[in-house]
């Protein structure tokens, strides 16, 4: 499936973002535990073919921007009792992200 050409990345390192809280069917590379959680862009990884299309035999184009997003463990798990600066990083495609207002 093809579409519009890929534009420039919409986020940069340090931006506050939230992962969409949604449960669409199909192949998704966004683990359920991180959906709806807010974190900070750790780095921009480049653009890659969309795994949600590749999984079904399409070409995965246009590519999607991919970011590493860093989340505080205490924001991800209820009752997390490690170090307050413990984090978990995941790779999130741009179409799963939205900006967190007033917190960037």
């Amino acid at each position: 499936m093809t579409g519009a050409a890929l534009g420039p990345p919409g986020y940069a390192a340090g931006d506050a973002v939230r992962v969409a809280l949604t449960w669409p069917p199909g192949h998704r590379r966004i683990p359920q535990y991180i959906r709806g959680k807010a974190g900070v862009i750790e780095r921009y990884c480049g653009s890659f073919r969309n795994p949600e299309e590749l999984a079904y035999g399409f070409d995965g184009l246009p590519e999607r921007h991919l970011y590493r997003v860093r989340f505080k463990q205490a924001d991800v798990w209820n009752g997390y009792d490690g170090h307050p600066e413990d984090t978990i990083d995941l790779e999130i495609q741009e179409h799963w992200l939205s900006p967190v207002e007033g917190d960037a």
């Binding site: 683990p31 991919l66 590493r68 490690g82 170090h83 990083d89």
Partner: protein, 219 residues
């Protein structure tokens, strides 16, 4: 084995050579749904001429023979060459390529353990792993137990591996869930300041590059 002198009563005539009860080491069910699916896919791909049986065999042989040597080479170089370390941390893929180590389509991210930060790698969705650098992942890395617990109780998991993190060290978990592959740059063990690169490689273990253990203690 003592031939037919054992006393349990079974037929040695026309039965299968091995039964599952004989398979004391592996619990892989060779006739499970996904095993049959994989076999069917392989046979069809060969029948359709997409791959040859030899190519499949060579691919399996390549990855089965691949160990952690390439990873140890990268880490020992980073320990002894500050400029290389800087390049490794800023662009892992390019730094691996400098040592003729391919990434097979993925990108390499290297994360550094320090006195205040410890890193550990997991792939919650499957078993993503830098296979060209570390070979095939260990069974525990693919287990549902590790894949879930390394995410939500990583300190307890590390402790089970014998790695108890001090309270003032922050733990960074990296979920290898898409196009990056990860390698931990362990701390260089104390007392190795005058060691040459080749000797340092012997201290770099698989588990230290996944982040569940420190590098080998030279003492």
């Amino acid at each position: 084995m003592t031939g037919d002198t054992h006393d349990h009563g079974h037929d040695h005539g026309g039965g299968p050579v091995l039964t599952y009860a004989d398979d004391s080491v592996h619990d892989r069910n060779e006739t499970g749904h996904f095993e049959l699916l994989a076999d069917a896919l392989k046979e069809l791909s060969i029948e359709k001429g997409l791959v040859t049986a030899t190519e499949v065999r060579e691919y399996v042989e390549f990855f089965d023979s691949r160990g952690t040597e390439k990873g140890a080479e990268i880490i020992a170089r980073a320990w002894t060459d500050p400029a290389y370390k800087e390049r490794l941390l800023s662009n892992g893929t390019a730094a691996a390529a400098e040592l003729d180590i391919p990434m097979a389509g993925a990108e390499l991210v290297v994360v550094e353990n320090t006195g205040s930060v410890h890193n550990v790698i997991v792939c919650t969705l499957c078993s993503c792993y830098p296979r060209t650098i570390l070979g095939l992942p260990p069974d525990w890395y693919k287990s549902k137990s590790y894949r879930s617990r390394a995410v939500n109780e990583p300190r307890a998991v590390l402790k089970e591996f014998g790695t108890e993190l001090p309270g003032d060290v922050a733990l960074r978990v990296h979920d290898s869930n898409a196009d990056m592959r990860y390698l931990v740059l362990p701390k260089r063990p104390a007392g190795t300041e005058d060691w040459p690169e080749e000797r340092l490689r012997e201290l770099v273990t698989r588990d230290s590059m996944i982040g569940v253990a420190p590098a080998r203690d030279p003492a």
